[in-house]
């Protein structure tokens, strides 16, 4: 980018994304061109799970389980995981706060699932995955911060790490405070260290501090990031409140 920027290289072995009405790579490549909020109401299909495991999954957890299922191919395929979400399962926290305000007993289930890493906890139990799990929330920088954390973990551990980012619709009560668009979508990136030359194409994520300014909304960031990662000759370029981000393929001279 320039002399003031910091960067990290990583490889992308696989990616999967889900939003209402969109699940295949073809759907997403078409969306990258089109942009706009993903539309639809349906919930992600997790019928591959036993009913007793499905029942505690809210709409966001169902998306996460769906994309993880498509990214981890067999039962022994375990990897460290990073969960990134700006708001997490905000509807659950809101319902707990409502119970408190009304002097009602809190739902033990909602309470137990109200922490930011609960979805990865449920996922690790379901898949008997004892690898580290990390949860990230970083405002409008959440998506690139999740990728950065995952790329760092892959570089340090020299093995594949999985990022899963998800947002769900936020309760009406909070809409007033969040004028930006809030997508309902989920993205999983299977990231490998740059040294693993068989793993897939090499990318560079770079960022630098910039003067405060108008940030890109989450939908625009998702679109930019996917443009840089999966569109041929694509390059992602966006800014948040105080940072400019860039994501592009690295072409190594033969």
């Amino acid at each position: 980018m320039n002399n003031n920027s910091t960067e990290i290289d990583f490889r992308l072995r696989d990616w999967q994304a889900w939003a209402p009405g969109m699940s295949s790579h073809k759907d997403w490549l078409a969306w990258i061109e089109r942009g706009g909020p993903p539309a639809g109401e349906e919930r992600a299909d997790v019928s591959f799970l036993p009913a007793m495991q499905r029942r505690r999954l809210g709409p966001m957890a169902r998306m996460v389980f769906r994309v993880m299922e498509d990214t981890l191919h067999d039962a022994d395929d375990h990897a460290p995981m990073v969960f990134a979400s700006r708001h997490g399962e905000l509807a659950r926290s809101y319902s707990l706060l409502q119970s408190l305000a009304e002097g009602e007993p809190l739902s033990p289930r909602d309470f137990s699932l109200s922490v930011h890493n609960a979805i990865l906890g449920l996922h690790s139990i379901a898949r008997k995955n004892r690898e580290p799990a990390t949860a990230v929330a970083a405002g409008l920088d959440t998506l690139p911060a999740g990728l950065l954390e995952t790329a760092v973990q892959a570089a340090v551990s020299q093995r594949d790490c999985l990022m899963v980012w998800a947002e769900q619709s936020i309760p009406a009560f909070y809409r007033h405070y969040l004028p930006e668009d809030a997508p309902v979508a989920c993205l999983a990136l299977r990231v490998a260290p740059k040294e693993d030359t068989q793993a897939g194409p090499l990318f560079r994520l770079a960022w630098r501090a910039v003067p405060p300014g108008d940030p890109a909304g989450e939908t625009a960031v998702l679109q930019s990031m996917l443009t840089g990662l999966v569109r041929p000759q694509g390059r992602g370029d966006w800014r948040s409140e105080r940072r400019a981000w860039q994501l592009e393929p690295v072409h190594v001279a033969a």
Binding site: A51, M52, R55, R56, E104, P105, L106, R109
Partner: protein, 89 residues
């Protein structure tokens, strides 16, 4: 009592979001936890809250009898009946 057992099974399905499970699938005599329905400790707490809300009957988490009351739908129904008869709540 049989009406109460059906009601409790409905309450269980609703409170625990047991999708794919119908009232008939829950044997009133079968253990709710472990080998039976397969519920866990979080479910036990959730049932406790649901029973408290609906029947105004408190289950004491520290009491030895609680394990017995929670064993099956039948035991839970018997406990609620007797709590009501004793004028608790």
């Amino acid at each position: 009592m049989s009406g109460l057992k059906t009601e409790l099974r409905e309450l269980l399905i609703e409170a625990l979001e047991l999708e794919d499970i119908a009232v008939e699938d829950i044997d009133p005599q079968a253990p709710l936890f472990g080998d039976g329905l397969g519920l866990d400790s979080i479910d036990a707490l959730e049932i406790g809250v649901a029973v408290q809300k609906k029947y105004n009957v408190r289950l004491d988490a520290t009491s030895e009898d609680t394990r017995e009351h929670f064993y099956s739908i039948e035991n839970l129904a018997r406990f609620i009946e007797s709590a009501r008869a004793n004028g608790a709540g």
